[in-house]
């Protein structure tokens, strides 16, 4: 009468008899996984399709050019000189610089009384009307700067007034600190001061030239003794972005900014020198450049103590997407194939649990391992690990093969630090692993593959799609990418969002509404929630 023996056993005794360790449960689930040929093939297929799609996308983004009727060139040969900043990032470094050398320590003080500008007329669509109209790009800027040399990409610190963001202190392209708010005008001038003491540069601003506020202090390590000091003006292109169904529409045209300076004072070894005007990186007025479409204004005039300086370009890091002016590629752009990988892995993972219900195997499984939590955990660990490894292999191959091909085709790689590369690869693999665990949990909750797969694909893939393709307006799309599991893909964002550069927030351009780890956290919460619900359902329901 074994049945009687079982029926009289106390719960504690039964647990002691029936408890199966986590190790054997893991081994059992691993055996189940590897012995179903379709699942193993599915995982290999996921990796192959991810790699194929990623490399196909990267390899087919080429540029071509033709100079003055010369031979048609493609790829790398078409790129202009690419400056790199002190931090190794690709930068734009074009502005009009009225300068003199500074040897050793010193400072510059100037009063800015006006910031005006012109940009291409975009009111009738793309910039081919040939007319400039008055107006300023949001980040048009003019101010004082101390820069290592006139070489593009060299170290610098600057105090500036901007068109839309008040006074800012910027340094080495990526650094930005806000100073006084409000726009500059003759009635509300802005006094700016920048001092150098060794490697330390300090910026001050003032409304009246008497009461000064320190805006920031930066260390420019390795700044040589002799540097350039002076005033500058520049303006990024004027862009009108309109997102409409099926894509965002960027109308962009050149723009210039004109700053008027007076009360210019120098201290230190620089005082008394002569001023020289230099268009760093071709950053003169737009009328003077090759793309100019109006009468050329003089880049720099001086009458008495007043300087009027006009420049174009920008002093900022290059960001992905339109507006950067360069064909760029980021590491995550080679990972677009993750979506096909995601779909395949979700299918396999959902079946990993729900097939047991269809075949009745679940009763054998639960008889062998009565603790249902252990079964769920073992399945989650196995499928998560397999998906993680698959994703990691695919991501490494995509980046290792795709990036050199994209660069050969003339794309400029916006290279992140190595640690970010690692985060992108491990993060991509982890997203696939978590998506697989999510699908397993859904399989346990819904017990039917079709429903589990549909739900998993719809809530993981669809938000990205609806947002990336501008099916939904940006506000709705951003919320979807904050709240749904698709937020986890933010872990792939390799280029930070810079406050001082106007960028389009769209995952296709590489920008997510949440920071990488916050987005990843949202995905983790979803997975944890699904696992908890699955555990409750498994315990409460009969198999």
């Amino acid at each position: 009468m074994t049945a009687a023996a079982v029926s009289v056993a106390r719960p504690g005794e039964r647990a002691a008899v029936g408890r199966i360790g986590f190790g054997p449960a893991l081994r059992a689930e691993w055996t189940k996984f590897r012995s179903v040929r379709g699942w193993v093939i599915g995982m290999i297929l996921a990796a192959i399709l991810t790699i194929f799609l990623g490399i196909f996308t990267a390899a087919n983004a080429g540029i071509g050019c033709q100079m003055n009727g010369g031979p048609v060139k493609t790829g790398k040969a078409c790129l202009p000189y690419i400056p790199y900043g002190p931090g190794g990032e690709v930068v734009t470094d074009s502005f009009y610089f009225v300068r003199q050398p500074l040897a050793g320590n010193g400072s510059i003080t100037a009063r800015v009384t006006s910031l005006t500008g012109q940009h291409a007329d975009l009111s009738n669509g793309p910039a081919n009307s040939g007319q400039n109209v008055p107006g300023l790009a949001d980040w048009a800027k003019a101010g004082i700067i101390i820069k290592q040399s006139t070489h593009q990409g060299s170290a610098y610190a600057a105090m500036m007034v901007t068109a839309g963001h008040g006074v800012q202190m910027q340094y080495n392209f990526t650094g930005d600190t806000a100073g006084m708010a409000g726009n500059v005008s003759a009635a509300h001038p802005r006094w700016l001061r920048l001092t150098r003491s060794g490697d330390t540069l300090t910026g001050y601003d003032s409304a009246d030239g008497t009461n000064w506020t320190r805006v920031g202090t930066v260390q420019l390590t390795g700044l040589p003794s002799s540097v350039q000091i002076g005033m500058f003006a520049t303006s990024p292109g004027y862009t009108v972005t309109q997102s409409s169904f099926g894509g965002s529409n960027n109308n962009s045209g050149p723009a210039q900014a004109t700053g008027v300076f007076d009360h210019v004072g120098l201290t230190g070894a620089a005082s008394g020198g002569t001023w020289t005007g230099t268009a760093v990186g071709g950053g003169g007025p737009i009328g003077a450049g090759p793309q100019g479409n109006g009468a050329s204004a003089p880049p720099y005039t001086r009458s008495g103590g007043a300087f009027t300086i006009t420049g174009s370009g920008d002093i900022a890091p290059v960001t992905p997407g339109p507006g950067g002016g360069l064909p760029t590629v980021t590491v995550e752009q080679t990972l677009v194939g993750i979506f096909i990988g995601l779909i395949v892995i979700v299918v396999v993972a959902a079946m990993f649990f729900s097939t047991e219900y269809r075949r009745g195997l679940i009763r054998t499984t639960l008889a062998a391992t009565p603790q249902r939590g252990v079964v769920l955990a073992a399945k989650a660990v196995i499928i998560g690990a397999v998906a993680f490894v698959t994703g990691a292999i695919a991501a490494v191959v995509c980046i290792a093969v795709g990036i050199p091909r994209a660069e050969n085709n003339g794309q400029v790689l916006l290279k992140p630090p190595l640690i970010t590369d690692v985060r992108v690869i491990v993060g991509t693999a982890a997203v696939l692993g978590l998506a697989a665990i999510f699908a397993v949990a859904l399989g346990a909750i819904l017990r039917r593959s079709a429903a589990a797969i549909t739900l998993a694909i719809v809530i993981v893939v669809m938000p990205f799609l609806l947002t990336a393709l501008n099916v939904l307006p940006a506000t709705v799309g951003d919320w979807l990418l904050r709240l749904t599991p698709a937020a986890g893909l933010a872990i792939e964002q390799s280029i930070p969002r810079y406050f001082q550069v106007a960028t389009v927030t769209n995952p296709v351009q590489g920008y997510w509404p949440l920071s990488p780890y916050a987005g990843f956290g949202v995905l983790c919460l979803w997975v944890a929630g699904a696992l908890a619900l699955a555990l409750v359902m498994l315990r409460r329901r009969d198999a």
């Binding site: 009111s123 309109q242 169904f245 779909i343 893939v461 296709v508």
Partner: protein, 295 residues
């Protein structure tokens, strides 16, 4: 002896082409040519209406389509003084992009559920002409999806018609009203209904080919959503146009475009035609597989 009858039944199906007219040998109870498909239709209809799943999914098509369309129109504004390059008709119908997922699931389950439950063997024993079974399922599926799609699309048009003028998309500023009296909108609306029907047929073909419901759903959703994602990322214009012209969703949804028609990679009706080719090819392949394989 069911095996024998199945095999001979398939032989009968093979000769059951127009003009052969000898099917009476195998179907003494169905002497007339038309009755094969009629009986199959009746059987499929009974199967369909006696489970609750399809009804819920059809409701889901309408609700999801209208809801996403309402969210999209509700969040789009055209401020005074701005030029807005918005295709108001396409915006109103954007829920189709989401609703098609439910349509695909309905189509897949309609066939693969029979495989997972083993019902397919009963079906084929009762109805040995496999092409008739598939045809009956396709006709019924198309019928119910078209009805649900008509409700969904009409609902979306009504929502767009009511919401958009209040958001700056007025006739005074050059936006046509989203209503069926406007020719391009009527074309987009009718085309969207047909689009959902064709998506259903394409997914049905996938389900017949693949058989397993889980894998079929994966393949169908990948067909619907993968190409648009690739399209968003690919930089090469030549490939962009190729994909816009030849992939099922991108080509098919051009039927919703009412502005900028000259810039399209493919004309609206030709785009819907491309989707029809996908659906047809998928059904033909599925039909062949159904004939050639054991159930």
């Amino acid at each position: 002896m069911s095996n024998v009858s199945e095999v001979t039944g398939r032989g009968a199906a093979w000769t059951e082409e127009p003009g052969c007219g000898d099917e009476g040998r195998w179907h003494p109870t169905a002497p007339r040519r038309a009755s094969g498909i009629t009986v199959a239709l009746h059987a499929e209809w009974t199967k369909l209406r006696t489970v609750s799943g399809p009804a819920w999914l059809l409701l889901g098509v309408a609700v999801l389509t209208i809801a996403v369309g309402a969210a999209a129109t509700g969040a789009t504004h055209c401020p005074q003084g701005m030029t807005c390059p918005v295709d108001t008709t396409r915006l109103s119908l954007s829920g189709v992009m989401a609703g098609q997922a439910v349509v695909a699931i309905l189509a897949v389950l309609m066939f693969s559920n029979e495989y997972s439950s083993g019902m397919i063997r009963v079906t084929l024993a009762a109805m040995p002409s496999r092409v008739s079974v598939l045809a009956a399922k396709a006709i019924l599926l198309a019928g119910i999806v078209l009805v649900a799609a008509a409700v969904a699309v009409f609902g979306s048009v009504v929502v767009g018609h009511l919401i958009l003028p209040g958001h700056g998309f007025t006739a005074a500023r050059g936006f046509h009203t989203v209503w069926l009296s406007y020719g391009p909108t009527l074309r987009a609306a009718c085309g969207s209904v047909l689009y959902l029907g064709l998506i259903a047929l394409m997914s049905l073909g996938v389900a017949v080919l693949v058989r397993d419901s889980a894998v079929s759903i994966g393949v169908s959703l990948a067909l619907l959503y993968l190409f648009p994602i690739v399209l968003a990322f690919i930089g090469n214009e030549q490939w962009q146009r190729r994909l816009e012209r030849w992939t099922p969703t991108s080509a098919g949804l051009t039927i919703q475009d009412t502005i900028g028609l000259k810039g399209l990679a493919i004309t609206p009706w030709a785009g819907l035609g491309v989707l029809a080719i996908w659906a047809g090819a998928s059904l033909v392949l599925g039909g062949l597989a159904l004939r050639l394989r054991d159930a």
